[in-house]
């Protein structure tokens, strides 16, 4: 058996394993996906909103929080990280409009990352629970109230929500809308095996005591939301996800911005893996599943794209030479013999993996119910997402590792 065939078989096996795992978790828990506990306690909540140059969205974010409808929301702490636009001015207007509820503060100097501004804002929170929302995230009415019930279980350290794309006008935005839906679905499934690996910035609530005990957000990490989740898991706390609590976030509209954002996510992810590498195959689900799952899925992606690129480049070079030689000798550029349609077992395996992942994506896609004002991505976006969008992931990861090696750690 050829080396590449062996690699392909291992690749298919691992991919099939993860797909079956998710499908089984889904089948076992599909009736519990939307469930959330009704709180027995009246938890006081403070929400911290870090902000840097977000004059266009910060007002709407504050207003959404004010209108959220959770009666024990004590403070909305808006932290300006020394913006160069009118963000701080807008915050101050809201502080004036909602005295006692909205608090606008400014960091002494620009911290350079969201973690710095979040930690600064957290100093002003005195409530039992502390939540964080991005300055371009719009939590849906009632979302906070739905999340707090999970904290009745004293082992719960954090609760995350359903993050969806707010803007869906251009094609890139619609692709991200599908991606966010699939991520949301996968994250909820991971909750059933205690393996949620991120509490994303658009809306997450933490138990303040644990949040402070574990040392708050790591300001050196580019994805403080991944790092803090792993930190909580390493300390033995549980992470929950409240699917009905939705928050809409503004996704990048331009490829350059999107690529930069994904690069940061991947660089932060790699940083986190290295920080927690000592837990590999130890320490509960963090070491036995989250870490290996993270590493394996990345390796699979990188390995897959490397093999495909290798084969494509070889075929391309071969074709170029063949065309050039054919032209020199007046030979046919293409004959019927060049088209081989005889299938092989690897093709069958590839089709099985693809069909399973396509089914999984469709289940995720149709599992969510959204307000009609949000345009559902269509068949075209779904096709591009399945065939092209996902293949870019490994390229971003390789670039991220390269940048980290070169010492780029800027937000």
């Amino acid at each position: 058996m050829e080396f590449l065939t062996k690699v392909y078989l291992v690749y298919s096996f691992v991919s099939l394993y993860f797909l079956f795992l998710f499908i089984l978790i889904y089948l076992e828990n599909r009736k519990k996906l939307l469930w959330y506990p009704i709180s027995k306690k009246k938890y006081g909540v403070s929400i911290v909103v870090p902000c840097y140059n977000e004059e266009e969205s910060i007002g709407k974010t504050i207003q959404n929080l004010v209108d959220n409808g959770y009666p024990y929301l004590k403070k909305i702490i808006v932290v300006d990280d020394r913006s160069k636009d009118n963000s701080y001015k807008i915050m101050k207007q809201y502080e004036k409009k909602y005295p006692g509820l909205v608090l606008a503060v400014q960091t002494p100097k620009n911290t350079g990352n969201a973690a710095g501004a979040k930690n600064y804002g957290a100093k002003f929170a005195k409530t039992e629970l502390i939540g964080f929302t991005d300055a371009d995230g719009f939590p849906e009415k009632g979302s906070i109230g739905k999340m707090v019930g999970f904290f009745d279980d004293l082992e719960v350290g954090a609760v995350t929500s359903t993050i969806l794309v707010y803007n869906r006008k251009n094609f890139l935005e619609r692709l991200q809308a599908i991606e966010y839906i699939v991520i949301k679905f996968t994250r909820k499934l991971l909750e059933f095996v205690d393996s949620i690996y991120v509490t994303p910035g658009p809306l997450a609530v933490y138990r303040r005591e644990y949040f402070e005990k574990i040392g708050k957000f790591d300001e050196k990490n580019l994805t403080e939301d991944i790092e803090i989740t792993w930190n909580l898991l390493a300390h033995g706390y549980k992470i929950k996800m409240c699917v009905p609590a939705k928050v809409y976030s503004i996704a990048p509209s331009k490829i350059k911005v999107w690529f930069k954002q994904r690069l940061r996510w991947n660089m932060g992810g790699v940083q986190t893996i290295f920080k927690y590498k000592k837990y590999f195959f130890k320490n509960g689900m963090l070491g036995t599943f989250v870490l290996p799952f993270f590493v394996f899925s990345w390796l699979l992606g990188v390995f897959g794209i490397s093999i495909i690129s290798y084969r494509l480049i070889r075929t391309l070079i071969l074709k170029i030479f063949a065309v050039s030689y054919s032209a020199q000798t007046n030979a046919a550029l293409l004959t019927l013999k060049d088209i081989n349609l005889t299938p092989n077992v690897l093709v069958f395996l590839g089709i099985t993996v693809f069909l399973l992942s396509f089914t999984f994506t469709l289940i995720a896609f149709f599992d969510i119910k959204e307000d009609r004002k949000f345009r559902r991505p269509g068949f075209g976006a779904m096709t591009v997402y399945m065939f092209f969008y996902l293949t870019v992931y490994p390229i971003i990861l390789i670039t991220a590792v390269y940048k980290l090696i070169r010492g780029h750690k800027k937000w």
């Binding site: 096996f13 071969l318 030479f321 007046n330 299938p343 077992v345």
Partner: protein
């Protein structure tokens, strides 16, 4: 609760193993079926070869003409050529087992034998046909050489289409470690592949157009 969680990981693993083994098993059956088909073709060709050999033994007999001998060899060559094309298709589907690839060597052996037979035939009978032997490397890793081989196949296919029964086209993989073939190539001082030999006289190691080759086949 913890056990239930662990169980789902085990269930997924078991399911993957079962599906994977079933897939591999189906793959092996599929490849073995192709191998059986290829083997059946070969057995039939082998019978024809024996028939040609028997015919050779009758060469001294005046009741068998040179045309009969040539035709019998040509018929077998055509058959072997068509089967080789089918075999090539099957080979690309053989990923798990190596059985189909071993068939290739058998066919190369048969074609080498046919080449030798044609050489002998030329000595005994007046030349009514041309032989064009194409020696190539089966496991070619060099992309430039691989591209050259692809183009050679196209050129030779074109030549064969033009010349029909007046040309015996014999493609043989030179890296199959056949001692008879080795001897023939040493005799012709051939060290580089791919190479085309017309009538055991003209050797072409550089790509040559169909029109230029046909000049030697008049």
């Amino acid at each position: 609760m913890v056990n239930t969680k662990r169980w789902v990981f085990m269930q997924a693993l078991l399911l993957t193993i079962v599906i994977f083994i079933m897939g591999m098993y189906a793959g092996v059956i599929f490849e073995e079926k192709k191998f059986a088909e290829a083997n059946a073709y070969f057995t039939a060709s082998e019978v024809s070869l024996m028939d040609v050999l028997a015919l050779n033994e009758l060469m001294s007999s005046k009741s068998v003409t040179c045309t009969d001998f040539t035709q019998a060899n040509f018929n077998l060559l055509e058959r072997v050529y068509e089967e080789a094309v089918k075999l090539e298709e099957y080979e690309s589907s053989g990923k798990i087992t190596e059985s189909i690839k071993s068939e290739h060597k058998k066919y190369d052996m048969m074609r080498t034998y046919l080449w030798i037979n044609f050489i002998k035939l030329k000595e005994r009978c007046p030349t009514q046909y041309h032989t064009l032997v194409y020696l190539y490397i089966y496991n070619q890793d060099d992309l430039v050489k691989k591209a050259q081989q692809n183009v050679w196949s196209r050129i030779l296919f074109e030549v064969k289409q033009d010349k029909g029964n007046k040309l015996a086209l014999i493609p043989i993989a030179a890296d199959n470690n056949l001692s008879s073939l080795k001897l023939l190539t040493i005799d012709k001082n051939i060290t580089k592949y791919p190479v085309v030999i017309i009538d055991e006289k003209y050797v072409f190691s550089e790509l040559t157009s169909a029109a230029d080759l046909e000049k030697y086949l008049q």
